[in-house]
Every structure is written in structure tokens, then in C-alpha cells.
């Protein structure tokens, strides 16, 4: 009979609408299961048994990202020594499909290459988030960050991330990738045990202390105090650690509430770090904002002079 199909269809819509409300009220106080509350808002995972429509009130609420989520790479440095894990071996630059990794290998006074990067850039506007760099890095030095809020007003240099912008401490990685971190640590411990069993000469004292100091929560003293001390202990990396100070907060990925390490917020380009000498054009975020403000102000003045009020 004509019309039955339409009526049936409307019935489905009606049921869906009712389901949405039932979902809402059935789970008071929270509309969703598996919610993580953080200072930055709720982290939600879509329930599979919802009957109605599912909505996330972004940005107050956000999705829970799975551990494997990949966005833009980050470079790891050792929490305790401040040393970069990267050895500038260049494998990530070779394997990167769109060729957006640029590495300058460091040299000593005699021009002999040293296994550490003098500069490391990733052109985030070209990066295709494939995670090949993280997969094939033999030193677990580059991993994929979960921070996807990268919007800037300018592509250059805002999205050309330099080493300072890319660097995060290992504890940050450990918090973001708990199971991958555990697995890597297990393999590392095994290797070290094997080495020791083979009766090789014992490891120097400092690196041996590394695994013990790993959990971020176990380090109650503020990071800033720990940092300046590090270069002295590790003469190999004099310049790099100083550049690692990062703005805190803003990152919402499932980091445990008791996490006390640093959290980077790479959404905004940080002002160029003098030690790195990058951000080639020298334009920084604050400068752009200041320029913009100035421009707007002069525009307002002009319009005012013409007798026209402006609403901006």
C-alpha cells in the first residue's frame, strides 16, 4: 500500500529520537560509559550499545584516542640525562614517503660527524602521518604524538617543527603509549642482561641508573631544576636540553591524572629557541599576533576618522 514504507521509515526515526533521550538519561550522571575526566575536559569513547545518536561536544568533550593513534612525530629525549635518543642515522629521513624530515648531523671541531642531530625539522604541512619514521627508527627515538590540534595562522614557519618543538621527554611517551613502552623496556632490559651475561665490560654508572629513574612520578623534584644539572653529567649534549622547556597543559590525550612530567602543546608554534637558531624567517607567533592587533587598531582608527563605527 502506498505510504507504508514512509510510515515505517518515520517509525525508525522516531525510535532513534527516543533512543537518544533514553541513552542520555539512563546513564546519569554521565551520558557515556568509559569516560575519563581530566582537567581539560571529558574523554569519551563511543559505546557500541547506544540506541540513539551519539554526539561529542567538542572541544569540551573529546574522543579517547587509542594508544596506536598517530598524528605528527615527536622526538624523545631521556628524562634523566636530557640526552636525545636520536643518533642522526637518517633512516627516518630515508623512509619518509613525502620526504618531509630534514636532519643536520652534528660535527665535532674537526668536522667529523657525531651521532646526534644538530637540527631536526619536520614539515608538518607535508607529513602524511604514516608513522614509517616511528616504525623503522632503530633507536626508538621518534614516535607519533597524539596531539592533533595543530592549527596555526601561517604555514611557514608555524608548521615547520624544529627540534625543540618536536622534543618530548621519554616519560611523556611512556604515558601516551603504556604498552609499547613496556614492551620496548622489556626488550631493552633483555638485551642488557644478555650483554652482561656475555661478560662484557660493565656499563658506565650513569646509563645503568636510567631504567630506575624512568617513571615520571618517581621524580618529585621539578624538572626545571633537574635540567641544568643534566648537561654537566652528559657532556655529549651541551646545547640541546636547555631548549626543552615547554608550555604545560592543553594536551588532553589519555595521560593519567597523576602524571607529573612535562606536556607539550605543539598546537601553537613556540617562539624560536635561540640555542637552536631556527625558525628561519624569525617570525614568531606573538609577533604575528602583535602585528595583527596593530593592523586592526589602525583599521579601526581609519574607519572612525571616516565617521563609521566598526564592529570587528
Amino acid at each position: 500500500m502506498f505510504g507504508t514504507g514512509i510510515l515505517k521509515g518515520l517509525g525508525v526515526t522516531l525510535r532513534r529520537a527516543a533512543g537518544t533521550f533514553i541513552d542520555d538519561f539512563a546513564r546519569v550522571p554521565s551520558r557515556y560509559t568509559d569516560v575519563i575526566e581530566t582537567a581539560q575536559g571529558k574523554l569519551i569513547r563511543q559505546p557500541t550499545d547506544a540506541k540513539g545518536l551519539f554526539t561529542i561536544q567538542y572541544p569540551e568533550e573529546k574522543r579517547q584516542m587509542p594508544e596506536n593513534f598517530r598524528y605528527i612525530p615527536m622526538l624523545l629525549y631521556e628524562e634523566d640525562t636530557g640526552e636525545d635518543r636520536c643518533t642522526a642515522c637518517g633512516i627516518c629521513a630515508k623512509v619518509c614517503p613525502p620526504q618531509c624530515i630534514w636532519i643536520v648531523r652534528d660535527q665535532d671541531e674537526n668536522g667529523k660527524p657525531i651521532t646526534r642531530p644538530a637540527a631536526f625539522y619536520i614539515d608538518a604541512s607535508i607529513c602524511m602521518s604514516c608513522s614509517f619514521c616511528a616504525e623503522y627508527c632503530p633507536f626508538d627515538a621518534i614516535k607519533m604524538n597524539h596531539d592533533y590540534e595543530l592549527a596555526t595562522y601561517d604555514r611557514y614557519p608555524g608548521l615547520i617543527l624544529n627540534k625543540a618543538e618536536l622534543s618530548v621527554p621519554t616519560s611523556y611517551y611512556a604515558a601516551l603509549y603504556p604498552s609499547a613502552w613496556a614492551e620496548e623496556e622489556r626488550i631493552r632490559a633483555e638485551k642488557e642482561a644478555k650483554k652482561a651475561a656475555r661478560g662484557k665490560k660493565p656499563e658506565p654508572a650513569a646509563p645503568a641508573a636510567k631504567p630506575a629513574a624512568k617513571p615520571a612520578a618517581a621524580q618529585p623534584e621539578p624538572k626545571a631544576a633537574a635540567k641544568p644539572a643534566a648537561p654537566a653529567a652528559a657532556p655529549a649534549a651541551p646545547a640541546a636540553p636547555a631548549a626543552k622547556a615547554k608550555a604545560k597543559g592543553g594536551h588532553w590525550s589519555p595521560i593519567p591524572a597523576d602524571y607529573s612530567g612535562e606536556v607539550i602543546k605543539s598546537a601553537l608554534p613556540l617562539p624560536p629557541v635561540p640555542a637552536e637558531g631556527v625558525s628561519a624567517s624569525g617570525i614568531s607567533w606573538s609577533r604575528i599576533m602583535a602585528l595583527r592587533e596593530k593592523q586592526l587598531a589602525s583599521y579601526r582608527e581609519r574607519r572612525k576618522a571616516e565617521g563609521k563605527e566598526v564592529k570587528l
Binding site: G5, E67, V95, P97, I103, V104, A119, M128, S129
Partner: protein, 583 residues
């Protein structure tokens, strides 16, 4: 290609005297003067009724090749009734005379593919009725797939580029382009005096009532698209109308063209995997699978994935099919004017599947999940629980809901039944694939016809419907979702433990010299990858047989005689994605 092909090709080798110049496992080299005769024989007497892929290769500088056989046009023919391995024909063309006879009269589906080869390689197909560029604009300088053509932002022949390491001071991409933009012009070319060719006019098919006494209507040509919400992206149809009736239709594409294949030849073998994600971005898992299957044919034992990886591949590919079909159905309804309610209901299910992709592969759409010899990440118990929950408890209920909501809906039926008629014979002749072909009653599904991966282990039906209209295609899609659920249930139940990768993952891929055609039944149809290797780290030739593109062959024949609003429905019924169409 297997040795079976060489054996199989022997019976035909002498059918047309002098046609086959040489034959080996990779195919038969055919004399271009006898090509049409030979193809006719294969089509009429040997059962090879389906021209799947047609492409060209430039062998400039390839070992053992000279200017006399620089170009090669490669045809992959298959049998839609018997299935199985097909035959490969090759026509070699000299550098100074790159001309091949057009196969459009034998296989009308050669139309768009020959135009593509003409556009990108500059090979002329004599006898083609509308041989002109398809992706690039008329004034484009040169033929970019030729090995001696360099893009304006050319850096090096192959990746990795030397400038990135060990001294890689970042250069802004725009600064690396010599002219500050990425277009190169021939010497002496002046934009002020350039006269573009007049816009192409579609061939007009006089309607049967043309000389009858009917109300006078005007003949007009209109451009639908590229900015038109119903074209699923930037796609343009040049439509000739008589009143409201379509009397001619010409698809125009290329707005999203980036020469995926040239990029692919600059890339390393491995580096192409994430690029395949960007073809049909709604079904990246299938794209990955097609590409790795093609390359694995050239990798010997290293390219054999372990059991668990095979199962994971099938699970992901079938989830992709569900995700794609829910999207296709939702957006078909959008094209009908049921704005977004059905689409959102459908996308909801897709969202849950994408969540699974994200947890397994790291990204919702650009999955980049498969590797040569396995998959990249294993799935954990939490993932499997969630997947089982969705597949066993939720999806079927939801598909039933669509069924109630849509299948019997009068509006859907009024707009789809009888619209976009394409007979079975036409569908095969025009190289249609996927639901487009099966909606015409041709039960040709590569998972059955040429089982790849481990599809021979699962029980499922090939859905076809002989309605030959958009409604039939809709029903095929709905049926395929149910079959995919069936396969997923079996695969999730049988999923074995063990490794997910054959050997130790490494970034260098050893690919033997040779060529291979790997195809999968993607959600949109036969997605094929034709790769030629010279034994180096980069593919010599990397060609994508894109189902969305080749299905456009049917758009004109399907729409002519219908109202303009029905042409939109016909296009929605094909389910194109411009990332794949334009490549």
C-alpha cells in the same frame, strides 16, 4: 602472473596467424596490426569478454629495451563467466610512432582508459572516437608519465632525496620550486595568446520522439559541476539536454589529478603504501591490500604473510566494505534529496568501524596498515572484544533497520527503480565492476572468480541482482554488507594466534625483476595494481586500475534518455570517489 597464464595462452597463440610475436609468463606480445583481429577472437571465441585494465609503460632506458620498443600498451583480459586467470596482451610501440589501434569497438570499456594513456603517455589510439586529454588541461606541456618528463618541482629521479640527510637544512617547499609555482610551460608559450580548445560537446543521441509531434523543447548544453553537491567531489558532467531529458553526457574529470602514478614511481616500494590510502580514501584498507598483493607476487617467499596476518587483512578489508557501503547508501539517499538523515544513520555504523581501524592501525581513514609480508600492528583482546560486539551484536540489527527504513520506501523506489538501466551485456562491455556490474545480474566477484588472500576459506554468497537499475545496485550493496558480516564472523571466530609479519620488518624491500597485476574486489569494484620492477628500490611502473574511474564509462549510457535528475541518481549509484577517479 602465474605460469598457468603462459600455458593458457598457448591455445590462442595460433588462432590469428602472425598475431602473437612472443609469449611468456608475463603475457603475449601482439603485433599491433593484428591486435583488433586477435582481440575479437579472444572475445568471441575464447570467452575473454572483459577488458579489465589497459595501461601503458614507458621503457626508456630499461635494460634490454631500445627506441624501437620503448612504449608498451598492456591489456588485461578476463572471463566473467568462468573466472580464473585472464590473459595479458602487450603491444610494443616505437618511440617515433607511438600509435596503437583503439580497442573501443571491441571493448567499449577501453574508452576512458585509452584516453588516460593518451593523456599521460602521448600514445595515440587510432580509431578512438573522442581521443583527447582527460586529466590534464588541453594546454598542458608534454606527457607526464613519460620517463623523460620532469615536474616543475623535480628534485631527483627517486626517493630518498639526498638533500634531507646528513645536511638537511629545511627549505620551504615553495622556495624549492624554480618559478615559485609548480607549473612549467614550454618555451615561447604565452598565456595571453593561448587559445584553449573549445569545450568538448557530448555526442547527442537523438531521442526516439525527436520527429514526433511533441511539445517544443530547447536543446541546451549545461555543465554540472565541478562545484555541484551531487557530484561527490569535483567532477563535471557536460550534459546535453532536450527539455529535461538527457540526450548526451560526457564525464570530465581531473580536477583532483596529482599524477599519483608518477609519484608512485618516484617513491620507494614501501613508500607507496600510505599513498594508496589516498586513492579511494573511504576504503584505504582495501587499497593497501591490493597494492601489497601485487608487490608480494614479486617477492618470493618473503612476501608470504603468516596466517594471522592473512586473517587480519580479510577482517580489515571486509570491515572496509561495510564502512564504504554504508557511506555509499547514505549518500545515494542524499542525492535523492533525503538530506542527511539516512546518511547520518549509516555513518554512525561506519564511525564504529573507523574507531576499530584507528585502534588497530592508528588512523581512521589513512590506515596504512598492510606491509609486504604481513600487517604492521597486531590487535589486542580489547580490540577483538569490541569488534565482536559490533559485528555479532550490533551491525545486523542496524542493517535490518536500514532495510526497514529504506528498501520499501516509496520515495526511494520511485526514484531508483528503473533508473540508470544498464544491461548485463553493456555492463561487461563497458568494463563496469563491483556493485555496478553485479547490479546488472553479472555475478562476477574477484573473491570468487580469482580468490586472493584466503577468501577461498570462507562461506559467503556473491550478491547479484538482475534489476539492472540503481535500485538493484542499492540492494546489492545492502546484501554485500550482510555477506561481509558473515565473512567477518567466520574470520573472527577462526583468527589464529602467531606472528603478524613474515621475518623482521625492514625498510628496504627486495623486489625481483618482473611484473605483476594484483587485484582485489574493493568495495567499489575491481581495484587492480599493475607493477613493473627492474629489481631496484623503486617501481619502474606503478599503475592503478581504479574502479571509480572505469565505472564512469557507464555514466553516459546509463543516463541518456532519462531526466537530468535521474542522471544524478545514476552517478550516485556508481559510488565514485574523486581521489581514486582522478588519481
Amino acid at each position: 602472473m602465474t605460469d598457468a597464464v603462459a600455458e593458457q595462452s598457448l591455445p590462442f597463440a595460433n588462432a590469428v596467424p602472425g598475431a602473437v610475436l612472443a609469449a611468456d609468463a608475463a603475457g603475449m606480445v601482439v603485433d599491433r596490426k593484428k591486435l583488433i583481429e586477435f582481440a575479437l577472437h579472444l572475445r568471441n571465441h575464447a570467452g575473454f569478454d572483459y577488458l579489465s585494465s589497459l595501461t601503458a609503460v614507458d621503457y626508456l632506458g630499461f635494460e634490454g629495451r631500445t627506441a624501437a620498443d620503448r612504449f608498451e600498451v598492456v591489456y588485461h583480459l578476463f572471463d566473467t563467466k568462468k573466472g580464473g586467470d585472464g590473459v595479458v596482451l602487450k603491444v610494443r610501440l616505437p618511440e617515433n610512432d607511438p600509435q596503437a589501434p583503439s580497442l573501443v569497438r571491441v571493448y567499449p570499456g577501453a574508452d576512458l582508459q585509452e584516453r588516460e594513456a593518451y593523456d599521460l603517455f602521448g600514445i595515440t589510439f587510432t580509431g578512438h572516437p573522442r581521443l583527447r586529454r582527460i586529466f590534464l588541461w588541453d594546454g598542458f606541456h608534454g606527457h607526464p608519465m613519460r620517463k623523460d618528463w620532469k615536474e616543475a618541482y623535480y628534485e631527483e629521479e627517486h626517493k630518498p632525496f639526498g638533500s634531507r640527510w646528513p645536511v638537511g637544512n629545511h627549505k620551504w617547499a615553495e622556495d624549492r620550486v624554480p618559478w615559485g609555482d609548480n607549473v612549467s610551460f614550454p618555451k615561447g608559450w604565452d598565456p595571453a595568446t593561448f587559445q584553449p580548445a573549445p569545450p568538448p560537446l557530448p555526442t547527442i543521441h537523438e531521442p526516439p520522439w525527436a520527429d514526433e509531434n511533441h511539445i517544443a523543447t530547447e536543446r541546451i548544453i549545461i555543465n554540472m559541476g565541478p562545484q555541484h553537491p551531487s557530484t561527490h567531489g569535483v567532477f563535471r558532467m557536460i550534459v546535453a539536454l532536450d527539455g529535461e531529458t538527457v540526450v548526451g553526457l560526457e564525464p570530465e574529470c581531473g580536477y583532483l589529478h596529482r599524477n599519483h602514478e608518477k609519484i608512485g614511481e618516484r617513491n620507494t616500494w614501501l613508500g607507496n603504501i600510505p599513498f594508496t590510502d589516498r586513492l579511494d580514501y573511504l576504503s584505504s584498507m582495501s587499497n593497501n591490500l591490493g597494492y601489497v598483493l601485487a608487490v608480494e607476487q614479486l617477492m618470493g617467499d618473503k612476501g608470504k604473510p603468516p596466517e594471522r596476518a592473512e586473517y587480519l587483512r580479510v577482517i580489515m578489508a571486509e570491515m572496509t566494505r561495510i564502512a564504504n557501503h554504508t557511506w555509499a547508501i547514505g549518500f545515494l539517499l542524499n542525492d535523492l534529496g533525503a538530506f542527511f538523515t539516512p546518511a547520518l544513520y549509516n555513518i554512525e555504523e561506519r564511525e564504529l568501524l573507523l574507531d576499530l581501524f584507528e585502534a588497530a592501525a592508528g588512523s581512521r581513514m589513512m590506515c596504512n596498515y598492510m606491509r609486504f609480508g604481513g600487517v604492521v600492528r597486531d590487535v589486542d583482546e580489547d580490540w577483538l572484544t569490541r569488534a565482536r560486539d559490533i559485528i555479532f551484536n550490533r551491525l545486523e540489527r542496524k542493517i535490518d533497520e536500514f532495510d526497514t527504513y529504506l528498501t520499501g520506501n516509496e520515495i526511494l523506489m520511485a526514484r531508483c527503480v528503473g533508473v540508470g538501466y544498464l544491461s548485463a551485456a553493456d555492463a561487461i562491455a563497458l568494463s563496469a565492476c563491483g556493485p555496478q556490474l553485479r547490479g546488472s545480474g553479472v555475478a562476477y566477484d574477484l573473491r570468487r572468480a580469482r580468490p586472493y588472500s584466503i577468501y577461498d576459506r570462507f562461506k559467503f554468497d556473491v550478491i547479484s541482482d538482475d534489476g539492472c537499475d540503481v535500485y538493484a545496485r542499492y540492494k546489492v550493496r545492502l546484501g554485500e554488507i550482510r555477506e561481509s558480516i558473515k565473512i567477518l564472523k567466520q574470520a573472527l571466530d577462526d583468527l589464529p594466534g602467531g606472528p603478524i609479519f613474515n621475518g623482521k620488518p625492514g625498510y628496504v624491500t627486495r623486489v625481483e625483476k618482473g611484473e605483476a597485476y594484483g587485484a582485489v574486489e574493493g568495495p567499489k569494484g575491481e581495484l587492480g595494481f599493475y607493477v613493473v620492477s627492474d629489481g631496484s628500490d623503486n617501481p619502474w611502473r606503478y599503475h592503478v586500475r581504479a574502479p571509480s574511474y572505469i565505472n564512469l564509462n557507464t555514466l553516459g549510457p546509463m543516463s541518456i534518455g532519462y531526466k537530468i535528475a535521474d542522471a544524478i541518481v545514476a552517478l550516485g549509484g556508481i559510488d565514485i570517489v574523486l581521489g581514486e577517479t582522478d588519481r
